[in-house]
């Protein structure tokens, strides 16, 4: 069976609540069948609005949303057949776990035996068999979350929407739930649209991530590409850690450009700069800069250690490098550890391909 690459399609969608400000601007987004796509962005970036429009609780101000080729903008939520996991789970507090799961089946007039079977299956999928008669209040946060996931899946929807479902859980539980949801997705192959503001959650779980800011998708790509190759400084800043240098392009060819900083010049990879004289922000991941590099690298500088912070598995070193006193280095805590002391001078090197010259901040 070939998968439909445009299973869910946002076609030039605009959304405004008050007629003055566009919360979502000209959104163009295709979601493939069976894909796990995450909408990631800071609060107020329009990601939840997109989800609500897909679920049918908000209507697009302009443009169309298509599900499997059909325009759904005028279909009420209960006829869309889209499962949804809400931020606070939205379990019905007056119903048992069984009744919660049976609700979507009962309203679809499914036979009692069939309901029992499906509820059983859904509960075992989230490893909660035997919890049928519990009330939601008798469950822990993680268990409630699983019930919410099971309820959104029990009626075999084509698409499942998840609106920051792990936001209320503590860190360890959140991580284990991330894997669990990912595995459920892999085993049943449902299309998942996931909304979060937690970038590590997005990176672990998704096939593709759409980074939202200011009502627009800034970048839509797989997690590795998003991290390694951010296309603009917002994405570079938002995903992972990032060292930046602001400067002006003084020389440019296809693979390299020379960026003039206040008192020095560095080589960088031209991404959004086109010509000499462009202002730019050069972005470099902390782990791409090495201390005393053995290979010849095309950027080699000396910096002064300002602060050393022990982080367990790694040590963070803050340097003053090229007039940037916020330059961060991550040093793995391996056995052959270096002596790192404050106000010591060290040599730092990186390849110009890793230093991405992006739009100026």
């Amino acid at each position: 069976m070939s998968k439909n690459p445009e299973f869910v399609k946002f076609d030039k969608v605009d959304k405004s609540y008050d007629g003055k400000v566009l919360v979502v601007k000209d959104l163009q987004l295709d979601i493939a069948e069976g894909e796990f796509i995450t909408m990631l962005g800071p609060s107020g970036s329009g990601k939840t609005t997109c989800l609500m429009m897909l679920a049918g609780f908000e209507t697009p101000t302009h443009g169309e949303i298509l599900l499997d080729g059909n325009i759904i903008s005028n279909i009420p939520p209960h006829k869309r057949g889209i499962g949804m996991v809400f931020q606070n789970y939205a379990l019905f507090p007056h119903m048992t776990v069984y009744e919660n799961l049976a609700f979507p089946l009962r309203v679809r007039k499914v036979e009692k035996d069939e309901i029992d079977k499906k509820v059983d299956k859904a509960l075992s999928m989230v490893s909660l068999s035997g919890f049928e008669t519990r009330m939601p209040a008798q469950l822990s946060g993680g268990q409630q979350q699983r019930v919410a996931v099971a309820r959104a899946l029990v009626f075999d929807p084509a698409v499942v929407l998840m609106d920051e479902p792990l936001g209320a859980l503590d860190k360890n539980l959140r991580e284990s739930m991330q894997y669990e949801i990912k595995h459920i997705h892999e085993s049943i192959g449902v299309t998942v649209v996931y909304v979060t503001h937690d970038q590590s959650e997005a990176l672990t779980m998704s096939n593709r991530i759409a980074v939202f800011n200011d009502g627009k998708v800034q970048q839509l790509s797989n997690p590795a590409e998003l991290y390694e190759k951010p296309v603009n400084s917002f994405v570079a800043e938002f995903i992972g850690e990032n060292n930046t240098f602001n400067g002006e392009v003084v020389d440019i060819d296809k693979e390299k450009c020379k960026v003039k900083l206040a008192n020095s010049e560095i080589l960088a990879n031209p991404i959004s700069v086109k010509s000499k004289g462009d202002k730019t922000t050069v972005s470099l991941r902390p782990e791409r800069a090495l201390i005393n590099p053995s290979d010849k690298m095309d950027n080699m500088f000396t910096g002064k250690i300002e602060e050393v912070i022990y982080h367990g598995d790694h040590t963070r070193v803050r340097l003053n490098l090229l007039e940037n006193s916020e330059f961060i280095l991550k040093v793995p805590n391996s056995t052959s550890n270096l002596e790192l002391k404050v106000s010591q001078d060290i040599n730092i090197g990186w390849n110009s391909t890793d230093a991405r010259a992006l739009d100026p901040k």
Partner: protein, 421 residues
């Protein structure tokens, strides 16, 4: 000795339980002292008056104290269907003479007259005879008294006196239900055309029920709107709900009188739009309609506020969840939202019903003859007939009724499910 049964000692050797109690004792005393003024206040203003009301409603010591010798002699009166023996007459004569000297005889006459009509006349006659000293104390008093009036020869009057002997009586309660102790001591119903109290009780229940229903039907959507509107609109609406609440009850009732009277604004409006003819204006006041309209409006906030406080806590995502799972808006409402508002409905209905059942001023002003409630009757006996013991009895019957309703409600919904705010 197993470790579970072993007494746990604190470091200085005192058993842990003792030490804990000691530590908490101070806090307990403090907590009690904090509530003590309120407890004292409640005892004085609530429990004590109710106790007093109860005593008054069953108290029948007046006659007992007035006729001690009579009742003593009546102990030997065996055949109650015949006139009592001479000793009873003598006892009664002596008691009555003493009362006459102390100017207390009138009270007794009135009291006995309530027990049996016609007593007032014959006791007055006896009083006059005593005053003129026409009674020969050495002759048979039975013959002399019997001669005074034929009613003295009627055994029913003596039976009536005997019935007043016990210091306590439930007769006021029976009267509240249009019943009385018949001559032979059995409970009998009053004639059908005089059963006013039963009609009043039923009408009170009926009006309270329908006012509760109307309040619920009107209050539910308002409360829902209040709970879901954005803050700036919901505040305004809340003020609209509360504004009447802050206005004097009397003013509100009076304004309903202005609106509802036959030449009032509502009738004018009906005539203006041609709904009714000018010479055929409907009566909307001094009957049940007036009571319904005014009481519903006045009690509405008591329904809206508990409902609102419950609805406010229901997350809007629950309705959304219901819809996204495939429920039509109605199913989502009926299966998800409505069951969650039951605590508020319970609290609101209980509050309105209990308030309505004892409502006084509004029915008194707009109710007319067919719209008055039992509380108006209670007030009537307190202020006009001055039969306080009967008013107390009816008040207690009302209180018992409310407690019964509360009990039924508890069985049906559970008091834990009530949420007042």
């Amino acid at each position: 000795m197993s470790s579970e049964t072993k007494q746990i000692l604190t470091t200085d050797g005192i058993p842990l339980e003792v030490s804990l109690k000691k530590a908490e004792k101070k806090n307990k005393i403090k907590a009690f002292l904090l509530v003590a003024p309120l407890l004292f206040f409640l005892v004085i203003t609530y429990i004590f008056p109710i106790g007093e009301m109860f005593t008054r409603s069953v108290d029948d010591r007046m006659v007992t104290n007035m006729l001690p010798k009579t009742f003593k002699a009546m102990e030997k009166w065996d055949n109650l269907n015949e006139l009592p023996p001479e000793e009873v007459y003598r006892g009664f004569y002596e008691d009555y003479k003493l009362l006459a000297e102390n100017q207390q005889h009138g009270k007794l006459g009135q009291r006995l007259n309530k027990e049996k009509n016609g007593f007032n006349t014959i006791t007055k006659k006896l009083f006059r005879q005593i005053k003129r000293k026409k009674i020969d104390e050495n002759a048979s008093l039975k013959e002399q008294i019997n001669k005074l009036h034929k009613r003295w020869r009627n055994v029913e009057y003596w039976q009536a006196i005997k019935r007043t002997a016990p210091p306590y009586t439930a007769s006021k309660y029976l009267k509240g239900m249009d019943m009385y102790f018949a001559a032979d001591g059995s409970i009998a119903q009053v004639e059908e055309d005089r059963r006013i109290h039963r009609i009043l009780w039923l009408r009170t229940l009926e009006i309270a029920f329908f006012v509760t229903l109307f309040c619920f039907l009107m209050g539910y959507p308002i409360a829902h709107l209040l709970a879901t509107l954005p803050m700036k609109y919901s505040n305004l609406l809340m003020i609209c709900v509360l504004l009447p609440f802050w206005t004097s009850l009397l003013v509100r009732t009076a304004s309903w009188m202005i609106l509802l009277q036959q030449q009032g604004l509502v009738n004018d409006f009906f005539v203006m739009i041609g709904l009714v003819a000018d010479d055929n204006r409907p009566e909307m006041m001094y009957n049940k309609v007036g009571t319904y309209v005014a009481m519903t409006q006045i009690l509405l906030p008591f329904m809206v506020l508990p409902l609102y406080s419950v609805m406010k806590t229901i997350s809007p995502s629950l309705m959304r969840a219901g819809k996204s799972l495939g429920g039509t808006p109605f199913v989502a409402f009926w299966k998800v939202y409505f069951p969650l508002t039951i605590p508020g409905i319970g609290a609101g209905c209980l509050l309105v019903f209990i308030l309505a059942i004892g409502y006084y001023i509004t029915p008194a002003l707009v109710g007319g003859a067919s719209g008055t409630l039992i509380s108006n009757q209670i007030a009537f006996h307190m202020k006009t007939t001055l039969d306080w013991s009967f008013a107390s009895a009816m008040g207690l019957m009302l209180l018992t009724g409310v407690l019964v309703i509360y009990w039924i409600y508890n069985k049906l919904v559970g008091v834990d499910n009530i949420k007042l705010g």
